[in-house]
């Protein structure tokens, strides 16, 4: 059976960062990813990042992606693209449907000494009449279409959700040449940063707070042609008689994300529910190791945050996995991990970050109390 020191699932910021650290330490690393290109969702983030210089402030997500790919290449990391991990079994066996080009695939089962799962997140939906119709999509889907594929998903767009994703993607859809008809927000206030909301308002786009989408009305082909919105009461139910009809061919939904956790579920990793991080997440310790020995998690798949925290968690997982293979001496690994945990702490500051810092501390504590040490399964 084919074998590797470390198999990493997902070539987004967490997976790539893990691969770079492990590769630099001399590990034989394979990264498998479903998508056509590596980088996860970084390449659709054409905006400049906030934060400190060590966290790429002022750098666009796309440029961070290019830098990571170069580093991974230099570290000798092997990446299989368009190759889905379709199974994971006790004894660290990973089944990959490897792409051979021209529509051909080969099923390969690999033995991995260590596995790092960095499978990211998926978008939440909001259900209303017509929500499955062509023209209704995730805000991230629309963002991929304009920023990566350079194709407009529609002409007139209603954005549902005014968190940072809703606001930033609204602006990027306008930059792409789409008309954003309205941003609709069920809460009484705008969810995201004022700096993003101000850009939307300056462009003349109305932000309807305390409103929801009631229906996406479709044409004879079943595609969206009109969107009905209405005010909501204190229990988020639409108030009759307050409907507004907006001409639009697209509804984009920015209602948060949830961790993608099928693989740790297959391995029976211990889970915990954390609404703040998007739902059920595999518990991990300070090495990013799950309750199953030799199985690590990093990034959004263990709690939805952002690209920089995913990067740092990936680095920790990569270092810890390489350390456990004897490729990095314990004292040096400890110093590096401590330094990165310090940087994570500085990322989890401010009014939004503080809650996440406390939440992550609670996860580590829960791991200690419920699991203690990872067990071999």
């Amino acid at each position: 059976m084919l074998s590797r020191d470390i198999v990493i699932i997902g070539a987004g910021p967490a997976g790539l960062a893990a691969s770079i650290e492990a590769g630099k330490a001399g590990a034989d690393v394979l990264v498998a990813d479903l998508n056509m290109k590596p980088g996860g969702q970084l390449f659709k983030q054409i905006h400049k990042f906030f934060g400190s210089s060590e966290h790429h402030s002022g750098t666009r997500g796309t440029d961070i992606g290019i830098r990571l790919l170069k580093e991974a290449e230099n570290a000798g990391v092997e990446i299989w693209l368009r190759s889905a991990v379709i199974g994971i079994f006790p004894g660290n066996k990973v089944a990959i449907r490897k792409d051979l080009g021209d529509g051909k695939t080969e099923l390969i089962t690999l033995l991995a000494k260590k596995i790092i799962m960095a499978t990211g997140a998926s978008e939440n939906v909001v259900r209303f009449k017509g929500w499955t119709s062509p023209g209704v999509m995730g805000a991230g889907a629309a963002q991929t279409m304009v920023n990566v594929n350079h194709v407009k998903p529609g002409k007139k767009i209603v954005m549902v959700g005014s968190g940072n994703v809703g606001l930033i993607v609204s602006y990027q859809l306008m930059q792409a040449g789409c008309e954003v008809v309205a941003v609709v927000e069920a809460a009484p206030g705008i969810g995201g940063y004022a700096v993003h909301a101000a850009k939307i308002c300056r462009a003349g786009v109305p932000i309807y707070t305390k409103h929801t989408v009631v229906e996406a009305v479709t044409d004879e082909d079943g595609c969206v042609k009109e969107v009905v919105i209405a005010e909501v009461d204190g229990k988020f139910n639409p108030v009759a008689g307050t409907e507004k009809r907006l001409e639009a061919d697209t509804v984009t939904i920015a209602a948060g994300l949830k961790p993608v956790v099928e693989l740790p579920r297959l391995l029976n990793c211990d889970f915990s529910y954390h609404g703040l991080f998007g739902g059920w997440i595999p518990l991990h310790n300070k090495n990013m190791e799950t309750s199953v020995a030799g199985i690590y998690v990093a990034g959004d798949s263990t709690g939805v945050e952002e690209a920089n925290t995913a990067l740092e968690e990936g680095r920790i997982a990569g270092i810890a996995a390489a350390e456990s293979l004897g490729l990095i001496p314990a004292d040096r690994a400890d110093a590096r991990k401590k330094e990165i945990w310090g940087r994570l702490e500085s990322l989890r500051m401010g009014p939004f970050g503080e809650k996440r810092l406390k939440g992550k501390e609670a996860i580590l504590k829960e791991y200690k109390e419920r699991i203690g040490l990872p067990s071999v399964r």
Partner: protein, 104 residues
């Protein structure tokens, strides 16, 4: 209909990919080689990728990153291909999928 972006303040839209022809339900469609099939179709105004098995409802782009399968189509005779993560090749034969397979 052309839904391709024309100019952008941040993104360099210079397209160096070869323009190729693919067939979509028998119609000739121009596409950029290597772009996702789904993007090529949207660029030409095609929004419906498949119809559901029981109710025959249309489906189109929903997640755009290979997670949801709403954009599955029949590509070169093979059904259930996620067009958002499958690159265009010259001469591809694409069909709108009805149910699990054509006519299914």
């Amino acid at each position: 209909m052309n839904m391709r972006m024309e100019n952008h303040v941040v993104i360099d839209l210079k397209r160096d990919a070869a323009i190729v022809e693919i067939s979509v339900d028998g119609q000739k469609v121009k596409a950029c080689e290597g772009e996702p099939i789904l993007a090529a179709l949207l660029a030409s105004g095609i929004k419906i990728n498949r119809y559901t098995m029981k109710k025959h409802e249309p489906r189109g782009l929903f997640c755009g990153i290979g997670q949801c399968t709403d954009c599955a189509m029949i590509v070169n005779g093979q059904p259930n291909v996620r067009t958002c993560i499958t690159p265009v090749q010259a001469g591809m034969v694409i069909q709108t999928q009805d149910g699990l397979t054509k006519g299914g």
